[in-house]
C-alpha cells in the first residue's frame, strides 16, 4: 500500500471577494521531499502557506498535513509544522537562548529536556556561538539561523520556509542549502519559497510553479524541465560580422519553426529558439555550411529553472491576452 502523502491539498481555493488568490490547487508531497514553491509576487504562494500552517481558512477545498486537516485542527497542525516567515519577529532585550526558551515553553517542551533541545537546534543551525547574544543585535544571516533553530525546537515533520536565502551572503547561502538538504535527509518534508531560482534548483526535488493563483506546473524537477522545454535555444559562434548577417538572412528564409533570432555581431554570436528536432537542425547546419558561412560552434543551450519559470510566466501572459 502506498504511503500517504505528508502534505496534500485538494482543490484548495481562496477568494477575497471577487479576487481569487488561489484557484483549485492540487499538490502532494512525500516524506523527505523538498518542494520549491515558485511564482512571481502575488502568485498565491503565501496564501497557500498560510492555509497550510493554519493561519488562513480556504474558501473551498482542503489541505492536510500527515492526514490532519489544516482548517479544522489548527492546534495539532501547529505542532506538526515549523514555519519560518519572511519577517524574523525579534523581541527586544532578549538573548537568543531566552528567545528559544520562550518558544520551547510555548510548545510545551519539558523543562528538563528544553535546554538540551535548544543546544541541539542551535548546533544544527550553526548558531551555537550566538546563544548569549541579544536577538536585536544579530545580522540578517544570524537571524535566519536562529529562526531555523526556532522552527526545529518542537521537532516538526514539516518545515515551511519563506525566502530562507533572502539577504544571505554567498557563504551563508551555501551553508543554508546544506542545512536544508541535511534536514530533508533526516526525513523532514520541506516547502521552500525563493526568488533565487538557481539556488532553489540545487536543493528541491519537486517544483510547483504558480502564477495568478493557479498551479502551472508541478512535479519532479527534471520532469518539469522536460515538459516545459518544448522550445530549444540554439547558439552559434560565427567567425565574422558578415557571417552573422548572412546567417540571419538564411534563418529568415526557413519558415516559422525558427523565431527569436538574436544576433550579436560584435561578439560574433547568434541565438534563436526553435521547436525543431535534432534531424531538422542537422539539415540547417548543412545549409549554413553550403552557403559558405563559417560556423565555429553550433550548440544547444541548457535551460535552467529560471528559463523554465520565465517560459511558464510568458505562456500565462500570452494566454491571458484577449
Amino acid at each position: 500500500m502506498a504511503e500517504e502523502p505528508v502534505i496534500k491539498t485538494v482543490n484548495l481555493t481562496k477568494r477575497y471577494g471577487d479576487f481569487t488568490a488561489l484557484d483549485h490547487l492540487n499538490i502532494h508531497l512525500e516524506r523527505g521531499q523538498i518542494l520549491g514553491f515558485i511564482g512571481p509576487n502575488g502568485a498565491g504562494k503565501t496564501t497557500t502557506i498560510k492555509i497550510l500552517v493554519g493561519l488562513s481558512r480556504p474558501t473551498e477545498g482542503s489541505a492536510s498535513i500527515t492526514g490532519i486537516d489544516c482548517t479544522t485542527h489548527t492546534r495539532k497542525i501547529k505542532r506538526l509544522v515549523g514555519y519560518m516567515p519572511d519577517v524574523f519577529g525579534a523581541y527586544d532585550n532578549m538573548r537568543v537562548r531566552e528567545y528559544l526558551d520562550f518558544f520551547g515553553a510555548a510548545f510545551g517542551i519539558d523543562r528538563k529536556s528544553r535546554l538540551q533541545r535548544i543546544n541541539e537546534c542551535l548546533e544544527i543551525a550553526g548558531a551555537s556561538h550566538m546563544a548569549d547574544l541579544y536577538v536585536e543585535s544579530l545580522s540578517h544571516g544570524m537571524k535566519q539561523r536562529v529562526a531555523i533553530a526556532r522552527i526545529l525546537l518542537h521537532d516538526p515533520p514539516v518545515l515551511i520556509l519563506d525566502e530562507p536565502a533572502n539577504g544571505l551572503d554567498p557563504t551563508a547561502r551555501v551553508e543554508m542549502r546544506e542545512l536544508l538538504l541535511k534536514l530533508a535527509a533526516q526525513g523532514k518534508t520541506l516547502i521552500v519559497t525563493s526568488h533565487i531560482l538557481p539556488e532553489l534548483s540545487r536543493i528541491c526535488n519537486v517544483v510547483a510553479m504558480m502564477t495568478h493563483g493557479k498551479l502551472r506546473a508541478f512535479g519532479p524537477l527534471d520532469e518539469i524541465m522536460k515538459e516545459i522545454q518544448t522550445r530549444r535555444i540554439i547558439e552559434m559562434q560565427l567567425l565574422s560580422e558578415d557571417d552573422v548577417t548572412a546567417t540571419q538572412e538564411l534563418l529568415k528564409e526557413q519558415g516559422d519553426w525558427i523565431d527569436g533570432v538574436t544576433p550579436s555581431p560584435t561578439e560574433g554570436t547568434l541565438r534563436f529558439t526553435t521547436t525543431a528536432n535534432d534531424a531538422k537542425l542537422s539539415v540547417l547546419l548543412a545549409k549554413l555550411t553550403a552557403a559558405q558561412i563559417r560556423v565555429a560552434q553550433f550548440r544547444e543551450l541548457q535551460q535552467d529553472l529560471e528559463d523554465a519559470f520565465m517560459t511558464v510566466t510568458r505562456q500565462t501572459a500570452e494566454s491571458a491576452k484577449p
Binding site: 498560510k50 527586544d92 532585550n93 538573548r95 518558544f103 510545551g108
Partner: protein, 550 residues
C-alpha cells in the same frame, strides 16, 4: 528653500483618518466648554468672571492636551525611521543633519500647532464674553503653549535618536516631560518654614522650570508683569533645554546614530572567577544584568516570562532601580506624614500618598501595556505567537500578569507610608483599606484598558498616545470639571464627573482638603469593575480574533 522631509512628514500625518478624527474631537471638546458657559439669559456678566473661568479651564485643557499629544510625535519620529531602515536612506541623501533635524522638528510640531490653531475660535469666544485681555492673557497663553510644544518636541526628538525601540522612546520622553512639567513643582511645595531663604529660592527656581506656575499666573492675575521672574526663569530654562536637545540631536543625526557596536553577549557565568565573584557581590547575584537567566518554569506562563524579559523594566536590575525610587519617594512622604501629623495636616499627606500612587499607575501603565499586542503586530512577531499552540486566553493572561506584577511591585514599595499613618492613627484602617481596593481596581482598569487599546492598534505609538489621552481624560479631565465647580459646572455635574475618577474617590476617602465631603467610593468601584469587564471582553474577543485563522 523647500525641505522634502517637512512635506513628507506633514502630508503623511494629515493623510491618516485618525488625524481628522483627532482634530474633530479636539474642536468639539473645546467648543463644548465655551458653549456650556456661554450666557443663555439676557443678563450680562460685567465682572468678566465667567470668561476668566472659561479661559482657566480652556488654558489647562490646552496644556494637559499638549502634554499628552505633543511628545508622541517627536518620540516616535526618528526611532521609527531607524527601525524601518529609512533613516539610513535619509542620512545617505545630500540633506545635511541640520536639514533633517529641521524637517523632523517642523514635521513633529506641525500637527500640534494645527490643533492650537483650531482652538483659536474658542479663545476668541472667551475674549468676546468680556473681561479677558487679549494682550495680557490670550496671546501670552498661546505663546506659552508654543514654547511648551517646542520644548517637548526638542526633548522627544533627542530621545528618539537615543532609543532603539518606539516603546522605549515614548516611555522615556513622557517620563522626562512629566518630570520637567510636574515633578519640578513638588520640592517647592514641601519647603519647611524654617528652611534657609537660599534653599527656598533654589526650589522656586526649580519650580519655574515647569510652565504650570506661569500659566497659573497668567490665568489668575492676567498680568504678565506680576509673574515676570517666573516667566523669565521658565523662558531661560526652556531655551536651554531646546538648544541643548537640538544640538545633541543634530550631533546624533550625523554618523553617530548608527555608530553602535554589536553586543558581544557577555555573560557573567563565563567570565574569570575574580570578575564573577565581583559582579555577584556587587549585584547581589540576582540583579546582575549579565547573569544567565533560568529556563521558564513548568507552571509559569511563557508569555508572562517573555514579557518580563523583553521589557527592560521586567529585568530584575531595572525593576530594583524602579522599586528603589518608589521606596525613596514613599519614605520621603512617610517623613512628611510624621511631620504633618504634628502640624495637623495628616489628611493632606494621606492625600499626597494617594496622588503619588495613582500617578505611578497612570503614568507608567500606558508605557508598559500599550505595546503588549500592538508592538507584536508591528514587528511581525504576532505571527510567530499565532504559530504556537498557546490559546488567546493564555496569551492575554500572560501579558496582563506581566504588567500587573510590575505595577504591584512598585505600589508595594510605596506602602510603608500607610504603615506610618496606621501607627499614628489606627482608626484610619478602614479608610486605608478602601484606598487599597481603589488602587487595585485602578491598576486593573489601566492595565486591561490599555491592553485592550493595544489590541485595537497596529502601531505602538498610536496605542500609547490613545491610552494616555483616555486615561488622562478620565483622571485629569474630570478634575478640570472639579476646577470649574460652582461657576462653570453645577454641583450635580461636578459630583457626577468625580464619581468616574478613582483619584477623586480615593481623595474623598482620605478627607483631602477640597474632597472632604465627597463620598463616591462605592459608585466609583462599580464603575471601574464595569469598565474592567468591558475592557476584558474587548481584549479577549480581539485577541481571539487575531489568533484565529481568517
Amino acid at each position: 528653500m523647500s525641505n522634502p522631509i517637512i512635506t513628507r512628514e506633514c502630508v503623511g500625518q494629515l493623510r491618516k483618518p485618525a488625524a481628522l478624527w483627532m482634530q474633530i474631537l479636539w474642536m468639539l471638546a473645546l467648543a463644548a466648554m465655551v458653549i456650556l458657559r456661554w450666557p443663555h439669559s439676557n443678563r450680562v456678566d460685567l465682572s468678566g468672571d465667567q470668561a476668566r473661568e472659561v479661559l482657566a479651564i480652556f488654558g489647562w485643557t490646552l496644556l494637559a492636551g499638549f502634554m499628552v499629544i505633543v511628545p508622541a510625535f517627536p518620540a516616535a519620529s526618528v526611532v521609527t525611521e531607524k527601525r524601518s531602515g529609512t533613516l539610513a536612506l535619509l542620512l545617505n541623501s545630500p540633506l545635511s543633519p541640520w536639514q533633517i533635524f529641521i524637517g523632523k522638528f517642523v514635521g513633529s510640531i506641525g500637527f500640534p500647532l494645527l490643533l492650537l490653531a483650531i482652538s483659536l475660535p474658542e479663545a476668541v469666544a472667551c475674549y468676546v464674553m468680556g473681561g479677558v485681555s487679549i494682550i495680557h492673557q490670550i496671546i501670552p497663553v498661546y505663546l506659552l503653549l508654543l514654547v511648551v510644544a517646542i520644548e517637548a518636541t526638542a526633548v522627544g526628538l533627542y530621545i528618539s535618536t537615543r532609543c532603539q525601540s518606539v516603546d522605549a522612546a515614548l516611555r522615556l520622553t513622557y517620563a522626562i516631560i512629566f518630570a520637567i512639567f510636574v515633578v519640578t513643582l513638588i520640592p517647592a511645595k514641601f519647603v519647611p518654614q524654617s528652611a534657609p531663604p537660599a534653599v527656598g529660592h533654589i526650589l522656586r527656581i526649580i519650580a519655574s522650570i515647569s510652565p504650570i506656575p506661569v500659566l497659573q499666573g497668567l490665568i489668575a492675575t492676567g498680568r504678565v508683569s506680576g509673574k515676570a521672574a517666573d516667566i523669565q526663569h521658565f523662558l531661560v530654562t526652556a531655551a536651554l533645554v531646546i538648544v541643548i536637545c537640538s544640538g545633541l540631536t543634530m550631533r546624533r543625526l550625523g554618523q553617530r546614530i548608527f555608530d553602535r557596536p554589536r553586543d558581544s553577549g557577555k555573560i557573567t557565568d563565563e567570565r574569570s572567577s575574580q570578575v564573577r565573584a565581583y559582579r555577584r557581590f556587587m549585584y547581589l547575584w540576582f540583579f546582575d544584568p549579565q547573569r544567565r537567566e533560568k529556563l521558564t518554569g513548568r507552571f509559569a506562563n511563557p508569555v508572562m516570562v517573555k514579557e518580563f524579559r523583553a521589557s527592560r523594566f521586567g529585568r530584575s536590575s531595572w525593576m530594583a532601580r524602579l522599586v528603589g525610587i518608589c521606596l525613596v519617594l514613599s519614605m520621603g512622604l512617610m517623613l512628611a506624614t510624621a511631620y504633618g501629623s504634628m502640624q495637623a495636616s495628616g489628611h493632606l499627606m494621606g492625600g499626597l500618598m494617594v496622588v503619588l500612587q495613582i500617578a505611578i499607575i497612570v503614568l507608567i501603565t500606558p508605557s508598559l501595556a500599550a505595546g503588549l499586542i500592538s508592538s507584536e503586530i508591528q514587528n511581525g512577531s504576532w505571527r510567530l505567537l499565532q504559530m504556537t499552540p498557546l490559546s488567546a486566553v493564555s496569551i492575554v493572561t500572560g501579558k496582563l500578569l506581566a504588567v500587573i506584577r510590575t505595577l504591584l511591585l512598585l505600589l508595594l514599595a510605596t506602602m510603608p507610608g500607610y504603615l506610618v499613618q496606621l501607627l499614628i492613627s489606627p482608626q484610619q484602617s478602614h479608610r486605608i483599606f478602601q484606598v487599597l481596593i481603589t488602587l487595585l481596581l485602578t491598576t486593573m482598569l489601566c492595565v486591561v484598558g490599555t491592553t485592550a487599546i493595544s489590541s485595537m492598534c497596529r502601531k505602538t505609538a498610536s496605542a500609547t498616545a490613545i491610552a494616555y489621552a483616555l486615561i488622562l481624560a478620565l483622571f485629569g479631565g474630570t478634575l478640570l470639571v472639579w476646577l470649574g465647580r460652582g461657576s462653570l459646572f453645577s454641583p450635580g455635574a461636578v459630583s457626577m464627573a468625580l464619581r468616574l475618577n478613582p483619584l477623586a474617590a480615593a481623595l474623598g476617602v482620605m478627607h483631602m482638603p477640597g474632597f472632604a465631603h465627597l463620598n463616591v467610593i462605592q459608585w466609583n468601584w462599580g464603575f471601574m469593575v464595569a469598565l474592567i469587564i468591558l475592557s476584558l471582553i474587548v481584549l479577549t474577543a480581539r485577541t481571539s480574533q487575531l489568533t484565529k485563522a481568517r
